[in-house]
C-alpha cells in the first residue's frame, strides 16, 4: 500500500472509514476488500494542499480510535444541519470529503487487475458508452502544439 501523499497507516484509516461508507452487501464488495485505496493518488495529486493536510490530520487522529467511534463521528457528520455556523459547515465538509474519497474510488471503476471494479460496475448494471468514433481526423493537437511559443522546459522556441 503506497501513496505519495499518505502513509500506510493513514490509508488503513481510510479503509476503515471506507468499510463504514461502502460496507458491501453480498453483491457489492466491501471497500477495503477492493484494494481501491491504492489508487487514492489519482485524486490526492489534485486536491489543494491544505485539504490533503486536513485529511492526513484526520487520519492520524482517528488511527487509534475504535471503529465504533469512527462510526459515531460519521453519523454526527450526517446531522450537520442541526449544528449552526462553522460547526455545521465543518461537519458537512468532513461528510462530503470522506464520501467523496470513498465513492469516487469505488464507483469510478478505475482499471483494477483484481476485478473488483468490474464487479461493482456489474453490481449496479452500469453500461454508459460511446460506441462510435469521430469521422474526421483530429487536427487540433498539432494546432495547439504549433501555437505554443514555449518548449516544454519553458525555453522560447
Amino acid at each position: 500500500m503506497t501513496s505519495k501523499y499518505f502513509t500506510p497507516a493513514q490509508l488503513q484509516v481510510f479503509n476503515r472509514i471506507g468499510d463504514i461508507i461502502a460496507p458491501g452487501d453480498g453483491v457489492l464488495p466491501r471497500f477495503s476488500e477492493t484494494g481501491l485505496i491504492h489508487q487514492i493518488d489519482r485524486m490526492a495529486a489534485y486536491i489543494p494542499a491544505q485539504d490533503a493536510a486536513g485529511l492526513r490530520l484526520l487520519a492520524d487522529t482517528l488511527r487509534f480510535m475504535p471503529d465504533l467511534a469512527i462510526r459515531l463521528l460519521l453519523k454526527i457528520t450526517t446531522l450537520n444541519r442541526y449544528f449552526p455556523g462553522p460547526v455545521g459547515a465543518n461537519l458537512r465538509k468532513l461528510n462530503l470529503g470522506l464520501k467523496g474519497i470513498v465513492f469516487n474510488l469505488y464507483y469510478s471503476f478505475p482499471d483494477d487487475p483484481s476485478g473488483f471494479s468490474l464487479r461493482i460496475r456489474e453490481g449496479i448494471s452500469w453500461d454508459g458508452a460511446i460506441r462510435t468514433r469521430p469521422a474526421e481526423p483530429d487536427d487540433l493537437p498539432a494546432l495547439v502544439e504549433a501555437a505554443n511559443p514555449l518548449n516544454r522546459d519553458g525555453s522560447a522556441r
Partner: protein, 469 residues
C-alpha cells in the same frame, strides 16, 4: 523590454473559456497578435481523463469542487483548455427582457436590452451548431420530466443545445462526455471557437497560471508559473480577463486592485443546482442517450428564480450527491437504472462575496439568505410532486448543491464605487484592461449563460478593436 519579460504582445487573454475564445477569435481575425494564457492542460480528444475520478480531479479547480463557507454549495469551474465548456451540456439561451431589466437596474447600463443585444447573439450563433434534441431520442427520464411538468401545470420545452452528430441511435450516451466529448460533437470551445482563433494565428500557452498583474506606464505585465514551477512573465499593451468570476477576482485581489476597485469581490451570484432523485419500479435508464434535453420554460417559475432540467449524473457523482452511506446507499446504487432525476436551479438574488484568506486561498460566501433557502424548499417540493406523480416510490434530494454557473465579482456598472467594469468593458480606471465574461455579469440570470458570454465577448472585441484602431 525588461530582461525578466519573456515576450511582449499587443493583447494577452487570460483564460480559454467562451469569453477568452470568442475575443481571441475576433481579434486574431482582425490580424491582432494575441497570446492566451490558460492555467489548465490541453487534452486531445483521445486523451480526455477517464474514468470519472480522473476527470473530476483533473479538469476542475480544487480537485473537483470548491466549497463555499457554508459547505452547502460546491462551485465547479473548469481548469483545462476550453474551460468549463469541456464539461458542459451546451445549453444555449438568449437572455430575455426579464433578465435584462434586472441587469439594467443593477448596473445602470442601457444597452442591456433584447434589442441591443440581438446583433451580438446573431454573430455568436454561427460559431456553434445549435439545435434541440430530436424528440425520438428522448429517454424515460425526459418523459417523466415532461409528464411531471404537465401534471403540475408548468411549461417545459426542449433545450437548445450546442451539439451535432451525437449518434444516439448507434448507442452513444451523453453522460460519457461530461469529462470531454471524444467525438467533437459537443460545442466545447477547443473544437469550435478556439480552433478558429488558433488557425488565425493565436498563441496559446496551456498550464500557465497567472498569479499577478502589474500595470506599468504603457504596458501590463502578467507574471505566473508555467507547468507548476517555472516562473515567467509576459507583457502586453492590452489585457483581457477571461478567467471567470473566481479566477478573475482572485487574480485582481492578489495583484492589489482592491484599492482602486472597491466593489471587487462583491456582487457574486450563483445558481444553486439541487438534484432530486426518484426511484421507480421500472427501468428508467436515465444515463442512456441524451440527457438535459428539456428545461422548464415558464414565467411563473422564472419569477420565482427557479428552473428545472432533466439532468442526471454518472455513478460516482450520483453516489456522492445521494444522501447517506452504508447498506441503504448500496441498495440505492444497485437500482441505478431505476433512478430518474430532476434538477432544480435556484437563482440567487442576494449578492455574496469572494475574498482571500491570509494564504491567498479563496473564501467564497455565496450570500444565500432565507429567501433562497425558502425557494430551494419550494422547488424541492415541486420536484417531488413531479416524480411522485410519475410513479416514483422513493424520492430524495442531493446533500449539497453544485454550482457550475457563477457570476459577478468583477461586475459591470456605470458607478465605479459599486462596480468594477464600465459599459465599454474596461476596469474602472484602467483603460487597457477588459473583462466581458460571466464575472462581469451584473447579476444572476436564472438561465444558462454561455451564449450570452459569447455575445457579450464579441461586443467587447469590437470595442477593443475600435480602441486599437
Amino acid at each position: 523590454m525588461s530582461p525578466d519579460i519573456q515576450a511582449n504582445y499587443p493583447v494577452i487573454i487570460i483564460g480559454s473559456g467562451p469569453s477568452g475564445s470568442a475575443i481571441a477569435s475576433e481579434l486574431t481575425r482582425a490580424g491582432v497578435r494575441c497570446l492566451m494564457l490558460e492555467a489548465g492542460k490541453y487534452y486531445p480528444r483521445h486523451l480526455f481523463p477517464r474514468p470519472e475520478i480522473d476527470y473530476y480531479s483533473q479538469i476542475y479547480w480544487g480537485g473537483g469542487i470548491e466549497l463555499d463557507t457554508t459547505a452547502r454549495n460546491g462551485i465547479m469551474r473548469g481548469k483545462a483548455v476550453g474551460g468549463g465548456t469541456l464539461a458542459y451540456q451546451g445549453i444555449m439561451y438568449r437572455f430575455d427582457e426579464f433578465v435584462y431589466q434586472s441587469w439594467r437596474d443593477l448596473s445602470g447600463i442601457s444597452y442591456f436590452t433584447e434589442e441591443d443585444m440581438q446583433p451580438w447573439y446573431d454573430r455568436a450563433e454561427p460559431l456553434l451548431h445549435m439545435a434541440p434534441v430530436d424528440e425520438r431520442y428522448r429517454n424515460e427520464c425526459s418523459r417523466i420530466f415532461l409528464e411531471g411538468h404537465r401534471k403540475l401545470g408548468y411549461q417545459a420545452k426542449p433545450e437548445l443545445r450546442a451539439q451535432h452528430n451525437c449518434q444516439w441511435d448507434r448507442g452513444n450516451d451523453c453522460i460519457m462526455c461530461l469529462g470531454g466529448c471524444p467525438l467533437d460533437s459537443k460545442g466545447s470551445m477547443p473544437h469550435t471557437v478556439l480552433k478558429r482563433a488558433l488557425r488565425q494565428g493565436l498563441h496559446l500557452i496551456p498550464e500557465f497560471e497567472v498569479d499577478q498583474v502589474e500595470v506599468k506606464a504603457g504596458s501590463i505585465i502578467c507574471r505566473g508559473r508555467y507547468r507548476r514551477d517555472r516562473r515567467m512573465s509576459f507583457s502586453c499593451r492590452r489585457l483581457v480577463l477571461a478567467a471567470a468570476p473566481l479566477g478573475n477576482t482572485r487574480l485582481l485581489l492578489k495583484s492589489g486592485f482592491r484599492d482602486r476597485l472597491p466593489a471587487l469581490g462583491k456582487n457574486f451570484y450563483i445558481h444553486a443546482q439541487w438534484f432530486h432523485f426518484g426511484l421507480f419500479d421500472q427501468e428508467i435508464n436515465a444515463h442512456k442517450g441524451p440527457f438535459q434535453v428539456y428545461g422548464s420554460q415558464d414565467m411563473r417559475l422564472r419569477r420565482k428564480g427557479i428552473k428545472f432540467e432533466n439532468t442526471f449524473a454518472p455513478p460516482a457523482g450520483l453516489a456522492w450527491l445521494y444522501p447517506g452511506y452504508g447498506r441503504r446507499h448500496h441498495a440505492f446504487m444497485r437500482r441505478y437504472r431505476y433512478v430518474s432525476c430532476i434538477e432544480s436551479s435556484i437563482r440567487s438574488f442576494h449578492p455574496g462575496t469572494i475574498r482571500l484568506d491570509r494564504n491567498d486561498n479563496l473564501v467564497i460566501d455565496c450570500g444565500l439568505t432565507g429567501d433562497e433557502y425558502r425557494r430551494t424548499r419550494e422547488a424541492r417540493n415541486m420536484a417531488y410532486q413531479m416524480l411522485c406523480s410519475a410513479g416514483a416510490r422513493e424520492v430524495a434530494t442531493s446533500c449539497f448543491s453544485i454550482c457550475p454557473h457563477h457570476f459577478g465579482g468583477v461586475n459591470m456598472g456605470v458607478d465605479g464605487g459599486r462596480s468594477c467594469v464600465d459599459p465599454e468593458f474596461h476596469l474602472h480606471g484602467f483603460r487597457d484592461i477588459y473583462c466581458a465574461d460571466s464575472s462581469a455579469f451584473p447579476g444572476a440570470t436564472g438561465l444558462n449563460p454561455v451564449f450570452t458570454i459569447l455575445a457579450l465577448s464579441i461586443k467587447a472585441s469590437q470595442q477593443i478593436l475600435k480602441e486599437m484602431a
